[in-house]
Symmetry: C7
Subunit: 76 residues, 7 copies
């Protein structure tokens, strides 16, 4: 599986709930519906979890890819 | 819907009111009228919401795309 | 008007007074005379407004595009 | 071995446990399953080690390459 | 004059004294002798003006373009 | 030797012990075994020297090039 | 001399002693032996001058170009 491209890495997480860690201490959780080659993400039922513990419902959001640190599928 | 490009992701939010989170703790809210492939945005009736709670009317603005963290359609 | 490029977005603000918000808490106000595809701007009768409230006349200036956060036409 | 490309450098660490140091004081440890030309990484059984000493199990994660500082195979 | 490229914008300031504002609170003043497409600048009789008010003569310097915030012709 | 490319600059340091200064106050010392055109480095017997004076053995590591500030061959 | 490229700007400083100001408050002084199109520099008899006034001999070093703020030939 070496040398896989970004698309194939991300394709495995489509339609599942992911936790996305962004620069600036921002966490977003929701269902990943789509992505493109810049790692821009379309996330449904998104919730922003700020590091002070607060949560905010955002609905469907578009995340700009260059803020992404890591994407983690979350336990069901 | 995997591997969609940025344009198709953003197209769904055109002409609706969006909340745009920018780097540096800046939030802008307004009607998204246009965008390009760099995520530069043209926003109408824009209001800047600084984190200290103040709001400022900006009219129509152009946001440079590389400051965008996420774009969220807001509830009507 | 979807998928417009940067040039057409900016063209609407040419020859009018704009407020440009730059990274690092810098605001510049003046008449936008020209721009290029990097969002480099040529601004006439420019005034820098530092966040502590001071203003400084700069004459005609060239702003490097990658410092731009947003461009806002100002009320007459 | 001079002038090897990124792929050949990283290929030697595939399927082994690696410690990945990211910007912002973030350490991630886990089995490197895949990578692409942007240094995006697919890591299995990943654990995030924050600098205050806490650990968090993340399962399989995708790390965006431009956050990577260094990748180190760890002792068995 | 819309859609002018960077070269034509900068050409108007050649051989005149400019004030260059750089990232990190650095100001450089001197005669702009040359530039290239990256906004790298060759400045003669350059003086660095640190924000604490000190000045330092640097002679002829080369400024790397991606540190430039804005370039301003100074009054004679 | 003007206008040499990155590869020829770095080739002179191959197989010798180098001190690599990285962004964020990180120093890594070890034998440079390989590099590519992005300045990604493969370093053997690497030791990280944090600025508080502590050292940590890392074995063979891959350093992502865009964190590199400077590379210095060390005295034998 | 307008519109000169980076190479011709830097060629004038080859084989002479330069003071290089880097991001993060780092100054390096030494004889510039070579450079490439990314502003990567090969500097001989380099000395790092940290802002607290200390100096450190580094021998021959390679400086990664995107850390460079400005390059200044020093008085003989």
């Amino acid at each position: 599986m070496a040398e896989a491209n970004t698309q194939s890495l991300l394709g495995e997480a489509l339609e599942s709930v992911v936790l996305v860690k962004l620069r600036g201490g921002i966490y977003v959780r929701g269902k990943m519906k789509s992505f493109d080659q810049h790692l821009n993400l379309l996330i449904e039922d998104a919730q922003e979890m700020v590091e002070d513990g607060t949560m905010k419902s955002l609905g469907t959001i578009i995340v700009r890819g260059d803020n992404v640190i890591l994407i983690s599928p979350t336990p069901k």
